[in-house]
Point group: C2
Chain length 208, copies 2
DNA sequence: AAATTATTTTCAATAAGAGGAACGAATTTC
DNA sequence: GAAATTCGTTCCTCTTATTGAAAATAATTT
């Protein structure tokens, strides 16, 4: 797998995108690299280099065209490509994610949720139905879904992961605080919620 | 601000920590760098180097002592230091976060939630009370809380942020898909949920 | 209208950092 | 005692970030 765009750049591009969205709301036509850089407290050369990766040319003394640049980022990051995904484990976090319509803006479509509790199976959250997890293998194959968002309690994480792997899931977005053991052909992204924020509290002195 | 430990290392350390927790549950006394590396699909030299940063010495041919290493990581990442935080905006995501007891393991304590809806003010979620957001400045000063977890709808993000800044909040864990404009003495961590996972879907070909 | 100024992009070069390979040293096992 | 495994470290490579001109263009001044 060759990385066309590095992780760090992708992350920054999503932030630029969010700024651009805001500028469009405000009907501003141009944005400059120093403007973006100031908002994010990063270096403006960084911004220009990231944008240069997209082969996009700005206008001297004016900056970049907001609308075009936003579209280009969406194209590069494939926001318009629909990525179907299942949520596995219909707990609190799953509910929040299922109700979080913002996913769609990035091309993620939650097709269904899965759980093993009879209290949850059959319920509908934000138009998305909760199915018995036993049905996942069949549905995943039929709907050709390869992404699972894992939100089960930690003690079931590995067990359910094994089940997902057998079901043909290829990408697991792991919200559990566990390191999952998977074969090489399955990719895991550990959404280390707390770990990310720690980067913050470790190096600063938070004295309460 | 000098970074004693880089972001990437911190992120990996949290993953090691999660593996170590698992090993303790299984009553295994020692763990080696290749074992950790295999689970995370990274290089074992990397693991050794990260651990070397902690000034921890392993035992040749045996590995590292699970219990000690886990404690050392917790100490380094300040898991035992209680970090009080408020959740601002009592929506779906806030509910999920408030119910997510795992935060405590990392030293994060949610002291209270805040909202402006009379439907939510006064309710109690997982033992944590929802207060009128007007009370935040006074409470933050009295309780000396400097961390806010922002989960309001995107259209109110900036407005509420300005309010938080005026209230003396110094660290904002931003779950909204907005880039917040803050003064230099306030730090924002953009928890770019989708952005993180995109790193995944952009460079792989997910064909559905 | 021409010249100047200020801002911004672009290109090039340097510096810093992270990841991976390799090797000696140590220790357990056979 | 020999073999195998693992740690710790050094070195090298590749990536990423920063710095420093130079070119371009809009706005301002003369």
């Amino acid at each position: 797998m060759k990385k066309v765009i590095s992780d760090k750049v992708i992350n920054r591009l999503t932030l630029y995108h969010s700024i651009l969205t805001d500028y469009i709301d405000k009907n501003i036509e141009y944005i400059s690299s120093p403007q973006i850089a100031d908002l994010l407290h990063i270096d403006n050369t960084q911004v220009r280099k990231d944008i240069a990766l997209l082969k996009y040319k700005g206008k001297c003394k004016v900056g970049y065209q907001v609308y075009d640049l936003k579209n280009l980022i969406e194209e590069t990051l494939k926001f318009k490509t629909i990525k179907n995904a299942y949520i596995v484990g219909a707990g609190n976090l799953a509910m929040a994610l299922a109700k979080y319509d913002n996913f769609e803006a990035y091309g993620f479509h939650i097709s269904a949720l899965f759980d093993n509790s009879y209290l949850k199976i059959g319920t509908i959250i934000n138009g998305k139905k909760v199915y018995d997890i036993d049905r996942l293998p069949e549905m995943a194959e039929r709907q050709d879904v390869k992404i699972a968002i894992l939100t089960v309690p930690r003690q079931f994480a590995q067990e359910v992961t094994d089940f997902l792997v057998k079901s043909g899931i290829k990408y697991i977005w792991n919200f559990t605080p566990c390191v999952l053991n998977v074969p090489n052909f399955v990719q895991v992204w550990n959404e280390n919620l707390i770990g990310n924020f720690l980067q913050f509290t470790v190096n600063h002195d938070i004295d309460n």
